[in-house]
Subunit: 258 residues, 2 copies
């Protein structure tokens, strides 16, 4: 089967990394679209494609069209873009496949589950690429995905939605727990690095085991005296107190149920 050729709509983080990876894997990138020509040309040059800065300049010479843009932009671009008969896929974890329904009848999602930054190298080999679409669409998306990564799976819109929500807990909220810990220690003028071994231990364990078996602490022990003391330390910070309280109550309810 002929390798599908690709046009990339977008020139941000995901467009950049996806374009480079596809180019390196030997795929032909036909066009790169960016709202500003300067930016479109910058990425188009890197992947030996033609730049485009207007939607009307996007022609039908490619097999697969990736909408690798922000969630807001998916909605607004979809209004204007017509690519009938072409396979069109977005790369967003939070948008349904139907976001593209006005663009083409052959729509899908090509979701690389990772946080991208332009300056940072991406290890595509182990990056989960999660595909959604009808069989005909998957037939075009799968070879692209498998060329980039060993971790490819087909999921539904609802499953991708759940993964995106779970990723908020795993990435954003975990990260913010570290930030809160840093703020608490800064406030008390005590060295944050006293917590480094515990943090290392915690995350190592969390990656190796089922965290349901690892849960400790005052909430798990129902140590109301310590919980009360902690809440009193947060008396002046109602928003932080709400985080502590909701997390504690959820841990308690969760293990009560179990």
């Amino acid at each position: 089967m002929k390798q599908p050729s690709v046009t990339i709509i977008g020139s941000g983080n995901v467009a950049f990394h996806l374009g480079l990876a596809l180019k390196e894997s030997g795929f032909t990138i036909v066009q790169v679209y960016g709202r500003r020509m300067e930016r479109a040309r910058w990425l188009a040059d890197k992947v030996s494609a033609a730049p485009a800065d207007s939607l009307s300049a996007i022609h039908d010479g490619a097999d697969v069209y990736f909408l690798a843009v922000s969630d807001d932009a998916i909605a607004s671009l979809s209004q204007k873009l017509k690519l009938p008969g072409k396979v069109v896929a977005h790369t967003s974890g939070s948008q349904p496949t139907s976001a593209l329904q006005t663009v083409s009848a052959k729509t899908g999602v090509f979701y690389p589950l990772q946080s991208f930054k332009i300056g940072r190298k991406v290890d595509w080999t182990h990056l989960p690429i999660l595909l959604t679409g009808e069989e005909e669409v998957l037939a075009q998306l799968a070879p692209l995905a498998h060329a980039l990564s060993k971790h490819v799976a087909v999921i539904t819109d609802a499953q991708r939605s759940a993964l995106h929500l779970a990723a908020v807990f795993i990435n954003n909220f975990t990260n913010h727990c570290f930030t809160i810990a840093r703020e608490i220690t800064d406030e008390a003028q005590v060295d944050f690095t006293h917590l480094t071994p515990l943090a290392t231990h915690t995350v190592k364990q969390a990656l190796q085991h089922d965290t349901r078996d690892l849960q400790t602490g005052p909430a798990r022990r129902k140590d109301e005296q310590t919980i009360h003391h902690h809440l009193s330390l947060l008396a002046d910070e109602p928003a932080l107190r709400a985080v502590y309280e909701s997390m504690t109550r959820h841990i308690q309810a969760y293990y009560d149920k179990a």
Copy 2:
């Protein structure tokens, strides 16, 4: 200076690991107290000490007395224990030094900041041991701490209290974020391991950088559409919704202020 000798009051996780580590570092363990003789003897045998199962059997033949028991037990044991003139230290992160004031005039805290389990090996060399007490007390605790670990610091009660609270965020709440992510993916019947690379990446970054510079996600971007969508996915789980909402609002307020 003569090496201080030690009596350990307690036979749980911390007592076990502390006793073994002190014994291995060449300190003399005089007695081990446990509520049940069987248990006291078990640990006493391991550290070549005499077992005791009544408080009245604890004699004044040691230099330093460690109260390595649960927070509740610190309060109740302190009522009954009199060791005038002796250095007495507890090992709790959440209790003030004053919890021991009825036991002796020479009180302190010897807080190893790590979560202990009896079956698990502890790397004492890098385990932060955080000391609190007057100079005379620190003179006895410091040689013990330095013999075990390279990471020893003197902190105040308020600083230990802050570290203990911060540890709840770094350890307990981070761990529970992983559990929640697992529940969400289980519920949607999608493979949790799709999130493993993101989790690895998140925790690696969190340990190497200031997490305040790493925060991403809908809360940080103020992407109210995605937040709204996520909250609607959690409509049937008010306790979990409260976690998502409080964490999101705190992230927003935090970066608004910054």
